[in-house]
């Protein structure tokens, strides 16, 4: 069987020239033997890919971190606004902020259970663990009313941000 394959290759070489021969030879070698080298290469690839992806993520992370610090400290200082979640309700339920500027919203969850601050109008979503405070950047917004909910207790946890 091997000999037959060789003969076929040789004919192609005779007819079509040198490049064609090299191409054919390579396919035959892969088909015929060296399965262990292919296996090792694939295994390496398998192991390396997730790590490479993770490393890329980490690199991005470290690259972006100073950027964030710079954005937060040097360029501007967003004004802080605060909401409190207590007994699955937002306090205050209506928060007025200036329009046209970025603000930093602190949401303190005083409940023991987690909550998700969720707002399609604001394009924001963030899980807040029990007894912890989350920070959410909002805006710059056009004047108007922007509703938000605590997705995990949407029947009680509702509020509006009013941009003026």
């Amino acid at each position: 069987m091997f000999r037959l394959v060789h003969t076929v290759t040789f004919q192609i070489f005779a007819n079509n020239g040198r490049n064609q021969l090299q191409l054919q030879m390579r396919t035959i070698i892969i088909r015929k033997n060296y399965p262990d080298i292919t296996m090792i290469r694939l295994l390496l690839l398998t192991l390396l890919l997730p790590f490479a992806a993770f490393a890329t993520g980490l690199l991005l992370f470290t690259l972006l971190l100073p950027l964030a610090a710079q954005a937060a400290d040097a360029d501007y200082k967003p004004t802080d606004y605060k909401l409190v979640i207590n007994d699955h309700r937002f306090q205050p339920a209506e928060l007025t902020i200036p329009s046209g500027t970025k603000i930093k919203l602190l949401v303190e969850n005083q409940d023991a259970t987690p909550e998700e601050f969720d707002s399609h109008p604001l394009n924001r979503e963030k899980v807040i663990a029990g007894h912890s405070t989350a920070m959410i950047y909002i805006g710059p917004l056009d004047p108007g009313r922007y509703s938000f909910t605590g997705e995990f207790h949407a029947d009680t946890a509702q509020g509006v941000i009013i941009a003026q």
């Binding site: 292919t38 972006l64 259970t113 899980v127």
Partner: protein, 274 residues
Amino acid sequence: MFGTAIIVFREVLEASLIIGILAAATRSVPNSRRWLSAGLLAGLVGSGLVAAFTDVIGSLASGVGQEIFNAIVLGIAVLMLAWHNIWMSSHGAALAKSAKSAGRNITDGTSECSILLVIVGLAVLREGSETVLFLYGIAASNDGGQSSMLLGGMFGTLAGIAVGYMLYAGLLRVPLRWFFAATGILVLLLAAGMASQAAHFLIQADLLPSLASPLWDTSAVLPESGLPGMLLHSLIGYDSRPAGMQIVFYLTALVAIFTGMKLVARPRQTAIRK
């Protein structure tokens, strides 16, 4: 109970659609089912862990750890989906032809299958951790009515899985000559949608400028809270009020992966033709 069902449904739906598409796309890849299941299992374990460490993750990177975590998870998923799609575009035709004599492709399929594991694991991890937190909140509260809410959660889970399965079953009925194109496009859009979501989280963390926010507002026509909007959000990354940067990410991912697929697919075809 109804509200609970909807929340759980939304989270499960996204993971379930991803698994449905991938299960269909890799139906002729040897052992892909086993790797998908392993990914599902790893994702479930991982979502428990992420849920347990929510406060730790959240407090990292001066308060925006959660956004960065989500963006990294999404970013890795985009890379993996891109790799998957490019791999399929170079091997898909061969797999379809040699579906019965698959022996030759087994070693080749291993690297692809581990990618499957990662993608499914990450999808389940991200969506699952929120569900775990939500259900934990219900179980831990003393409001009463937990059993009805947990029942709602179960309904939501089943409904989400059912929709994913329907997509899977529907894809399997697509004729073979369009099948790889169909799954390829679905995976491509899935990846682009995830890239847009990653941008969304980085904007929320104030690490990226939003570039016109929102770029458009279709929330009155097609709200994301409705079922069509929900499905489109999961499948193609629909956002009723996207920031400009999200669209930049979306299009970049779309073009990059598509170019990769074309580049890999072409030389092989010409080689066969000669």
